[in-house]
Amino acid sequence: MQIQSTRFGAIDIADDAVIEFADGIIGLPGKRYALVAQQEGSSFYWLHSIDDPSVALPVTQPWLFFPSYDVAVSDEDSAKLGLDAPEQADVFCVVRAAPELEDFTVNLRGPIVVHASRRLGRQVINAAGDYDVRQPLFAHVELSQAAPANSTTPIAASGV
């Protein structure tokens, strides 16, 4: 299918790249999203709504920036996602972007967990610790250290 993103124009989304969020994403419309990469090898993706072309969230993989980050997914959340083992899951955290890099923050408290092969997604409340919803993204990493994201969840489009 093709969506007309208000940010990026027309984007082709393969059917098998669509992630279903049965309970939506807290505070945002729609239940179908897809990962879009703005550039090959970027440390960030956009989690783009299929249903509302104006909605897209910047996300990153937390371990690129916080190597000791822990995630605990409750039994209820695991059941809803059909997760049997940690390696089935991809974890993304929502990034609040800003004009200046030092003002970027990331939500480590409410990560988005995706069952990569079933392409079911859910924003969960991380039970692993008292993480911040607005953690400065570049406080704990040398700016040159962040690696490219490497999702096992299908990427709907890149180079948009």
């Binding site: 505070g27 910047p58 609040r96």
Partner: protein
């Protein structure tokens, strides 16, 4: 808003299939047990509000170009 008084061990039923039990009252803290269908998300209110605010701020940040590989 409905205001009702419950004692430890007593319950409140919402609709047909949600039951909230007052498990323990200790000082200013109340421990609740919530029995709800799996399709009903249950969150602590302040966390739900914070996550909602971050999601909406992230979606509305007005930034359309994210850094690629981060380097100085």
């Amino acid at each position: 808003m409905l205001v009702i008084t419950r004692r430890s061990g007593e319950q409140v039923v919402l609709g047909d299939d949600i039951t909230i039990t007052v498990l323990e009252i200790s000082g200013s803290t109340v421990r609740l047990g919530i029995d709800a269908p799996t399709e009903v998300p249950v969150y602590r209110h302040e966390i739900w509000l914070a996550v909602k605010a971050e999601n909406q701020a992230a979606a509305n940040a007005g930034v359309t170009s994210l850094p690629s590989r981060i380097s100085k």
